[in-house]
């Protein structure tokens, strides 16, 4: 069993944090886990991405070229990474920040208006956790309690008050996806819908 993730967006959207939460949750559930950030000072405020590998044995390549799961937070990232997603893989994208689609029919695309949801909750910084919740709802690999434990762990001590806020956002994501159990559609349609802040969820068949 191996699950490879790519998470990408702008700096400041909590991309690296989200990746660490997934990686940590994987470890909580007994898997080997590995996380690599895009590192370096050049891209301050520019793009950020990270890759996560969960595996039931020692992780071979920690580098993810063809993710099973891509969590996408902006348009450049969608363009760059969605073509590499494995056939049968999952893309969760923040529909209210991205106006195009992966344009692939061999993957499941979940267009979640995570920004609107986070903003609506008065916590714009929880955008990433909404996406995490959406993933929880569509990929059963990680259990909620492991993700919750991961959030506790990854949040730095002086920001522990954020844990509750993040957990609420997580549930928002889960709930929203559960509330929109539509079939997978192409990204373009998702985007169109997202413009009206109504997401359409595609339930991937291939993704476990």
């Amino acid at each position: 069993m191996k699950r490879e993730y790519k998470i990408a967006g702008f700096g400041g959207q909590g991309i690296l944090f989200l990746g660490q939460v997934l990686a940590y949750a994987g470890m909580q559930s007994g898997l080997e886990s590995c996380w690599i950030p895009s590192y370096g000072p050049e891209m301050r405020g520019g793009t950020a991405n990270c890759q996560v590998v969960l595996s039931d044995r020692r992780v071979r390549s920690p580098l993810v070229y063809n993710p099973d799961v891509a969590l996408i937070f902006n348009k450049p990232s969608l363009e760059r990474f969605s073509p590499d997603v494995k056939p049968g893989g999952i893309v969760v994208l923040v529909s209210d920040l991205i106006d195009t689609s992966p344009g692939r029919s061999d993957i499941a695309v979940y267009a979640v208006p995570a920004k609107s949801l986070a903003d609506a909750a008065g916590e714009p910084a929880t955008l990433n956790m909404v996406v995490a919740g959406a993933l929880l709802a569509v990929d059963p690999l990680l259990r909620r309690e492991d993700v919750e434990a991961a959030i506790w762990k990854v949040t730095p001590p002086h920001r522990q008050r954020m844990v509750a806020v993040n957990l609420r956002a997580l549930d928002q994501g889960v709930d929203w996806v559960r509330a929109h159990p539509a079939e997978g559609t192409t990204g373009a349609e998702n985007a169109a819908n997202a413009a009206g802040a109504v997401g359409v969820v595609g339930m991937a068949k291939g993704a476990r």
């Binding site: 940590y24 590192y39 580098l63």
Partner: protein, 389 residues
Amino acid sequence: MERTFMKGNEAIGEAAIRAGCRLYFGYPITPQNELLEYMAAHLPEAGGVFLQSESELAGISMLYGAVAAGKRAMISSSSPGISLMQEGLSFLASAELPGVIVNITRGGPGLGRITPAQSDYLQATKGGGHGDYNLIVLAPSSVQEMADLTTLAFELADKYRNPAMLLGDGIIGQMMETVTLPPAMDQGESKPWAATGCEGRERNLILSAPYTDQELMELNMRLQAKYARIKAAEQRAECEQMEDAEYGIVAFGISARLALAAVDDLRADGVKVGLIRPITLWPFPENAFRAYPKVRGYLVVEMNEGQMVQDVRLTVSDMVNGRVPGAAPTIRFLGHGGGYVPTATEIRERVMELARLLREAVGASEAVGAVRTASASGSVPAEGGRRTA
């Protein structure tokens, strides 16, 4: 034994503290700043001294002073900063001082970029500084090993009174993985040779230069004898699926992870391939190669323009001697400098190519009795395969 999830750079820091490292010196440079910052945050808690040095040059001499005082101490940097330490490293070696040095290599030459790289292999193993000396060089390929080899570096450094270097790269430094941390140790045995003030004993001298020409010759003899002992006792390599291997991939550090993925894929296709992963880059694990005399070809994979491949060729050319003629393994190289990271796919393709070549060579040799023509260019990086995108 604590299982946790950590960055490679931080795992070095934590393992160092647990290994009894009590002084750390460092100057900022990407991609190793997490180590510097980990030590800044945690070494004082452990009763140690964190001191940001004004430069790498000063830092390596601070290390020299701290280990001369008998303490376990460490410094870390990345490529350009390590180049600045070359005089200091030669001094540590000549004075037989056991400091630990970490190089989280980045893409070079020159200022380069913070892309991952393995281009400081030759500098680390062949003596970037002047004179005949060797560092013990350890190459972790996982966060777990970042911790484990840090512990080992302190132990070997003390055991042999020799500087030891941990040679990592940007990926492994930045990467987080599950890791089981070693238990805390004390600071190693007390060091009767240390310069701590001569109260109650003969005075101790920590000298880099012997007093006479003859003593310098003798120092060199002593060092070479020590290096021979280290070569005999401390070679380390991980060999995966080598027992029945016809082909071997040789790779260290992060490259070996990608190579291992390729081994999995190739084995799935029925190709008898294994991996030799040198853990000690110096001493180079020659014995590991000797253990598999049936290997017909090696693919050396590095994130540089062909550095460790020289040691593979030297090792294999040694093996040729005294062997049945015609059985020398072919050596091919895959790699580039400046931030290239091989993919498992590329590695797989190059192994297949090697296998094809050797099949043809066998055919040819049956016909005309000549073998291994194809390996003549082993040191020249092969065309193609460069990932520039």
